[in-house]
Amino acid sequence: MTFGEFLSNRLGRVFIQLIFAAVAAFFLVATGTQAGIILLLFLVFLLVFAATQLSDFFRQKSRLHELEAIMERLDQKYLFTECVPMPKELYERKIFDLVRRAGRSMIGTVSDAQTAQREYREYVEGWVHEIKTPITAAGLICRNTEDDIRRKLTRELGQIEAYVERTLFYARAESPEKDFIIRQTVLSELAAQAIDHHRALLMQSGIRVEMEELEQEVFTDSKWVIFILGQLLQNAIRYRGENPVVSFSAKKFGKQIHLTVSDNGIGIPEYELPRVFDRGFTGSNGRSRGGSTGMGLYLCKKLADCLEIGIRITAKEGRGTAVTLCFYHA
């Protein structure tokens, strides 16, 4: 707030005071007071008026300054009215009270929503853990059946498991409380575990898996990265072409390590590439092959952002797709 702004806001008051002074002067002239006295009175009046206005200006300015500082320091800005001292003036206090009531209702709504979200996440996580018990049991039981049936059932169970896992990570990615632990891991181990999780799906789609130069160490959360790699494998399976191959390779670029997962599948049209990380974007491949939810790459991007891993995609229609994860190396 500048002095000019302050003054223009009080223009009405200044005008009324001037009129008042003019009326008083007129009255004094009419009653025969000496011009010198009138001038003196007028000067005194002007001085007092200017002094009160100036003091008002500086008081308001310093208070605003104080409030700004409180706002600046606050992590949750909507808690502002809870952290501000009560104003002294009656009218201001009434206004403040109203604003505080509005703020409280907002805080209540926000905290209700946060609780609901946390409870929902807990429920989803609990559900995911519950469903894993029968999936495990089914996996063990079908081991005793004939090879052909076992293989088919194992693939279906693998598919169920992949969907369940995605639900879990969706709940985790959308929740503000992130549960990850950054540790030193070797890329080959991450790739191997992602492959292990999808072995039934990979084997039966006849995909050859290649791994090159993955003996490099990175600092990251292995569970999340294994999930991301799993999503990329699922895409490679779903959008595979003739003689499918999926390959993992790593390269060091200065302080970064780039892990690339590439396939020789049907690829992605160039004009769709900028949107593949969008939530729910299925594109022409998703429409032609079906079963796409547009969530896989969205989740990859989301999780990668949380872990501060860069993620890039390149693709040629009919030739294949390559997704690169950029880690800062150990």
Binding site: V128, H129, T136, L140, E161, R208
Partner: protein
């Protein structure tokens, strides 16, 4: 025989684990009464405990601490909870390994074998396989017949080892591929054919060109 104590509240999984471990030559002891498990463990003195964290009425973590106090049994946690926090907690409480459900069977067996081996007293897996006049040294990757020997690649070694372990039985291509994937050799059908052809070539150098027979529509046989 090595005793494995199974602490798992889901009866279907428990029964299947018993069957599985029996087939693998272990001696499984399922726990059905979940009161005072440490005492039961003390009486049994198992070589390994498979412990489910989500037991009814009690916390698997505190149970593990109790088990640790009653004896130095290796413990593998088997759980459907896979948050990082749970894993760190389990391992800091002295668990030897942590497997999340749903596990695939080969992985589970490999982990069990690894922990038992670490605990010592375990039978070392045989280093040399012998069958039909063929000697396969697994650590050196050398196969020999009589005085001649040939060096094998990792893939060829695993294929031959698998065929030899089946002692003349037919091994289907799919099973062979599954077995190779368990050893982290991610091979497809064509590559398998190529590898078998190469392996046959090497065996021919030893004077055994027709050792691996192709059984059309069924698989390979030694």
């Amino acid at each position: 025989m090595q005793k494995i104590m199974i602490i798992e509240d889901d009866s279907a999984i428990r029964e299947e684990l018993v069957l599985l471990l029996k087939n693998e030559g272990y001696c499984p002891f399922p726990v059905v009464d979940f009161t005072d498990i440490p005492k039961q463990a003390k009486q049994l003195c198992p070589d390994l405990i498979l412990l489910d964290i989500g037991l009814p009425g009690q916390d698997g973590f505190s149970l593990c601490a109790d088990l640790r106090r009653s004896g130095a049994f290796p413990v593998i946690f088997v759980t459907s909870r896979d948050s990082n926090l749970d894993e760190v907690r389990a391992l800091s409480l002295g668990g030897d390994d942590y497997i999340t459900k749903p596990y695939n069977v080969p992985v589970l067996l490999a982990r069990i074998k690894a922990v038992l081996r670490r605990g010592g007293g375990a039978l070392e897996a045989p280093d040399v396989l012998e069958s039909q006049g063929l000697r396969l040294n697994l650590t050196k990757g050398i196969v020999s017949a009589g005085t001649n020997s040939v060096l094998l690649t990792r893939n060829e070694l695993q294929i031959l080892a698998c065929l030899m372990e089946h002692g003349g039985g037919i091994v289907s291509r799919e099973n062979l591929i599954e077995m190779l994937w368990s050893s982290r050799i991610y091979i497809d059908d064509n590559t398998l054919s190529v590898n078998v052809t190469r392996l046959r070539g090497k065996l021919a150098e030893l004077g055994l060109p027709d050792l691996i027979k192709t059984r059309r529509g069924m698989g390979y046989q030694l």
